[in-house]
Amino acid sequence: MKIKNVTKFKENIYRGIFTILAFASLFFLLGITVILFKEGLPIFQKVSVFDFLFGRYWYPTHADAEFGILPIMLGSLWVTIGALGVCVPLGVGSALYIHELAGYTQKSVLKPLIEILAAIPSIVYGFFGMVIVAPFIQRTFHLSVGLNAFTGSLMLGIMATPTVCSIAEDALSFVPKSFREASYALGANRWQTLINVIMPAAGSGISTAIILGMSRAIGETMTVLMVCGGAAVIPHSFFQPVRPMTATIAAEMGEAVMGGAHYHALFAIGLILFLFTLVFNIIAEIISRRFRVKLGLGR
């Protein structure tokens, strides 16, 4: 009896520890959300929400301070869209190749190698972009400056490729074998099967991959700080310097006077960035749930 009680007691302890661990991330998320709201909202006592979101000038430390983040928000969206143009063909293309065409040896080399791309620190991408890619882009396109949205998009796209590739490949591998066999049985060739059967079946999984790649790109900081140029103007061309939200926070937070308007404005930018990625992730979750139901995998 005694031994049984001890075992039960131990089990309860383990259960308790793991419950705490599981809920810890929820606790962190809550903490971060509360702080973002608490430190970000006070700026709206100084500027109206409309002037903050749609103001065209960002002069946070000037005597006549202006806190308009429209150019900064558009800068983020601009490089994110550009990054999608790079990481979708690269990521989805390599996922298709790895899953459909590559032999066992190629597959066992390619997938880990692409994942290593994700392990390179972002400052290394930034440095590479600033010293090698930007001067190259500047000479090739005869631009006045190589640090622009195009260079930024290129670097971000390469950085988001492993995310897209890895998740898209998983999505492809979830397509039941019977789908493919049925297609071949109907006389479809490999290409027809891939485009008309596999792709649509894995479609929502691939969409999830793309959206998560977008979250990765919009949240990236060090690289965009180093290669995007950092001009806080509304972008009208890809070959123009832009300043994304993350770069603004990273460059200015260290010196902002704690509790001042500038400090609260930077937190408010963080809050908006958080809302962006939250929406992306919710959309990705909805699509991937629908996908699992569609393939009859349940939830």
Partner: protein, 275 residues
């Protein structure tokens, strides 16, 4: 039971040792430094190396801005207040009314060099043109006698001390044009100017080397001598304020900042040393 007793004994002993050791540490000299973010790197570097040499002294260095630095001398929350500008009359009278006697110590000079790409033909610039380039009046190198087509204006993040000094000394507090590029450090500005033919940027004098071309402003070349003599326009003294004449640990630290060693630390951080 014996085991438990022994463990208890060890815990008590450990606590006793802690209780003995902690007050000894509290006896160490503590110096608090607050203020200007421009002076912060000098204060930080000097504090670190001073603490290495004098382990009994504990120095805490904080930023906050010149206003905070001087205010902390007035309300006595810091021993040394950093400032990148002289004390204002209002601050001085508020200090006197509280029985404080702020003493200024110039700890280094902050000189800002205007740099362009080595391939640029420009050989000099006037302060007026410089202001026009940075505020948006001039956009082409041909208007100021340079080469490289469109001027790529490079600025610093609005929170940096160099930005603050440049805005004050060269732009007379006007706003930098919104399409100026932002770089987060002196080194990054230099890197971009080095690789961009049409670029103009500004860095602390200590960062100028052969990879970029520093140009004279209003006919004066930025050099240690012209900064110290006051003939170069984009320069200003940096201060540390103390309450009255410093004594004891504070005096020793101030002496260290002004010593050859402290001054070479200032130079390493891109400032112009006084000797």
């Amino acid at each position: 039971m014996n085991k438990l007793k022994r463990q208890l004994g060890i815990y008590t002993l450990t606590l006793a040792i802690f209780a003995l050791v902690c007050p000894v540490n509290a006896h160490a000299d503590t110096i608090t430094i607050k203020g200007s973010t421009t002076v912060l790197p000098i204060a930080q570097a000097c504090a670190e190396s001073y603490m290495d040499q004098n382990p009994s002294v504990n120095i805490s260095v904080q930023g906050g801005g010149s206003g905070v630095g001087i205010a902390s001398i007035i309300d006595g929350t810091a021993d040394i207040g950093d400032a990148s500008r002289p004390i204002k009359n209002a601050e001085l009278s508020s200090a006197i009314s509280r029985g404080k006697d702020p003493k200024a110590h110039v700890v280094a000079m902050d000189g800002i060099a205007v740099i362009v790409n080595n391939a640029n033909r420009i050989s000099a610039i006037s302060k007026k043109d410089l202001k026009a380039i940075y505020t948006g009046g001039i956009s082409s190198w041909s208007d100021v006698g340079g080469s490289g087509g469109k001027i790529v204006v490079i600025g610093r993040d609005s929170a940096s001390g160099t930005f603050e000094a440049f805005t004050e000394l060269a732009l007379h507090k006007a706003k930098t044009r919104p399409d100026a590029l932002l770089e987060a450090s002196n080194a990054a500005v230099k890197q971009v100017v080095q690789t961009t033919p049409g670029a103009i940027g500004y860095v602390g004098l200590g960062y100028v080397d052969s990879t970029v071309k520093a140009i004279p402003v209003d006919g004066v070349m930025p050099k240690e001598e012209t900064v110290l003599s006051g003939t170069y326009a984009l320069a200003r003294p940096l201060f540390m304020y103390t309450n009255g004449k410093p004594t004891g640990a504070i005096k020793n630290f101030m002496d260290f900042v002004l010593s050859w060693e402290g001054q070479s630390l200032a130079k390493e951080n891109g400032f112009v040393p006084l000797k």
